[in-house]
Amino acid sequence: MKNLKKYLLLSAVSLAFVSCSSDDDAPVANNVTLSFKNTFGDTEIVLGGATSSTASVNTSDAGQVHRFSELKYVISNIRLVKADGTEVPYNVNDLDKGATVVNHANPSTLNYVMSNIPTGEYKQIKLGLGVRSDLNTLDQTRFPNFYATAGANDTEMMWEWGTGYRFTKIEGFYDTDNKQMSIHTGSTVEGSEGSYTQGVDAYRNIVLDLPQNAVVGSKAPKINIKADFDKLLSGAYNTITLSTGTGMGDNATPNIHTAVQMVKFVDNIGGNGTTDNKGMFSVLNVEN
């Protein structure tokens, strides 16, 4: 009986202790912000038209100068990996809550705040460039908010004929005479995952190790992610020379709104999907 009392007392004390510590120090969850830095190399991109004097001008490995007037891409299927290897998915099956259109012209879209991430240390982030095929159906009933965002006039991230979203939309100019370039990517697959009967899957899974652990708890860390669009034309797989015309090899415009030339650009910026899971992405640092 005496022992039982002891135990009860001990339990009460430890309970009090537990509740004290969780109240004061570490909440069970906090936000994590993904901050996207869109660059040519180390320089943050400034958008601009053909005559803009402020637009960032980049030179490709093939020697072509180019500039962007519009730069957008979809990020979805975000997963954070804890130091012990546990994967924490962030609304990966809900485009309304777990996907975003990064639009370089709209600064508020460059910071994506993920809420309610469980307290802990994270060593790696995985994310999708584009939308997984099983969710890429323009289902307005299921994801009305993402559908509205993607379809908005200043976003235009729908690929109607393929009944899916555009994964990237890049408009700009190239060569010294400022020819138009217009590069859109998206999936055209039909059928179900693993047994596609036709088409091209432009979705890419990106896996990035964090240079230091992101510590979620009393503080809400920020992960600074670089998207280096120099890779678009000068990637690990394809050194692309842009050309304009109606032949099947032309890739700047036209023919770039189709699956024909698209995969080369996708592999450069999103990796080839097998041996390379980084493409143009890297983590600059983590602000804890």
Partner: protein, 338 residues
């Protein structure tokens, strides 16, 4: 009896569970019997999971003619898919709301139950997946499925038809797509003079017969089967659409060998579907035949039929005349209401 009554709710529960992933067939909505014409290819697999029903087809037909599908309520499916043109139209390229010009020539809606690919590039493999595309495309209806549902959901006629088709008044995107597909499955053209000749109910004229012979010799390798298409995708060197969204079949597959390749068109009711070509390059059938005769545009992936024959199909003027006579025997006056 008492025991039966007790387990009855449980049975219902079981049934509704197992029915979760497809529309239960509403018992007062009988399946229509569809006559599969002799010699036609097998029906598309999707047909079996969405067989036409009495009210499903009626609902699909009403939806097909529903102008509230478009953002400004001016255009329905039937605005471009006109019965007298074999459910195509006679514009060079499709015209959407506010006169917006689409990428391609409107395809006829006929015998789709027997097709494996839809659209000129075969981008869709089942009809149920197609209706959303014109609804949301800027150059077509420029709306969204929830906008459409919002406009029609309080319409008593629709409430009744959804009730009769599906057992309740709920209007869902899926139900809209499936009803339209059911209606389209019933649009079968198999009563042309050609069909009657095949059934020994009519005979070809001398010219038609001559044309049929030329056809079998010079056309039937692609325009094969009773649909008059082998449903393959071929680059036959037609003038190229320079729109940046056009790459033919390669737009879908990314396969360079299919660049500017299009599905071989059915020739049924071809008399009514001018102009011809993926973006209406040719005004008349004679123009098409002249083009074949004169020679087509060279391409790396030009179809062997042309590549191996000096990029042309040589035809005498008389052969062209006969071919046109024959092609007109594929006109189905009953189907098109002529």
């Amino acid at each position: 009896m008492k025991v039966f009554l007790k387990i009855l709710p449980i049975l219902f529960l079981l049934v509704s569970c197992s029915n979760d992933d497809y529309e239960p067939l509403y018992t007062n909505n009988p399946e229509l019997s569809i006559n599969i014409p002799v010699g036609f290819p097998q029906v598309n697999n999707s047909f079996y999971t969405n067989k036409p029903t009495k009210y499903g087809v009626a609902l699909g037909e009403k939806l097909f003619h529903e102008k509230r599908f478009s953002a400004d309520n001016t255009i329905s499916c039937a605005s471009c898919h006109i019965q007298s043109s074999a459910f195509a139209d006679n514009n060079v390229q499709a015209i959407g709301i506010e006169g917006r010009i689409g990428l391609r020539n409107t395809p006829p809606i006929q015998n789709l139950a027997f097709m494996r690919f839809y659209n000129w590039d075969g981008s869709k493999l089942s009809l149920e997946n197609q209706p959303i595309v014109p609804i949301i495309t800027h150059e077509e209806m420029d709306s969204s499925i929830l906008e459409v549902i919002g406009k029609i959901q309080n319409d008593a006629a629709y409430k009744e038809l959804f009730q009769k088709t599906f057992g309740d008044e709920n209007i869902t995107p899926e139900r809209i797509y499936r009803s339209i597909a059911q209606y389209e499955y019933t649009l079968i053209s198999d009563n042309s003079k050609y069909d009657k000749v095949k059934r020994n109910e009519a005979t070809f004229t001398e010219n038609e017969m001559q044309g049929y012979q030329v056809f079998q010799q010079k056309c039937a390798s692609c325009h094969s089967t009773e649909l008059f298409t082998d449903q393959s995708f071929r680059n036959i060197g037609f003038p190229i659409n320079t729109n940046s969204n056009e790459a033919g079949r390669a737009r879908v597959t990314g396969n360079m060998d299919e660049y500017m390749s299009f599905r071989v068109p059915s020739l049924r009711n071809v008399e009514y579907t001018a102009p011809y070509g993926s973006f209406g390059q040719f005004t008349t059938l004679k123009d098409v035949l002249d083009y074949f005769d004169n020679g087509v545009i060279e391409a790396d992936n030009l179809d062997p039929v042309f590549k191996n024959n000096g990029n042309r199909i040589p035809l005498t003027e008389q052969e062209k005349e006969h071919l046109i006579s024959f092609m007109k025997t594929l006109s189905d006056v009953e189907f098109t209401g002529h």
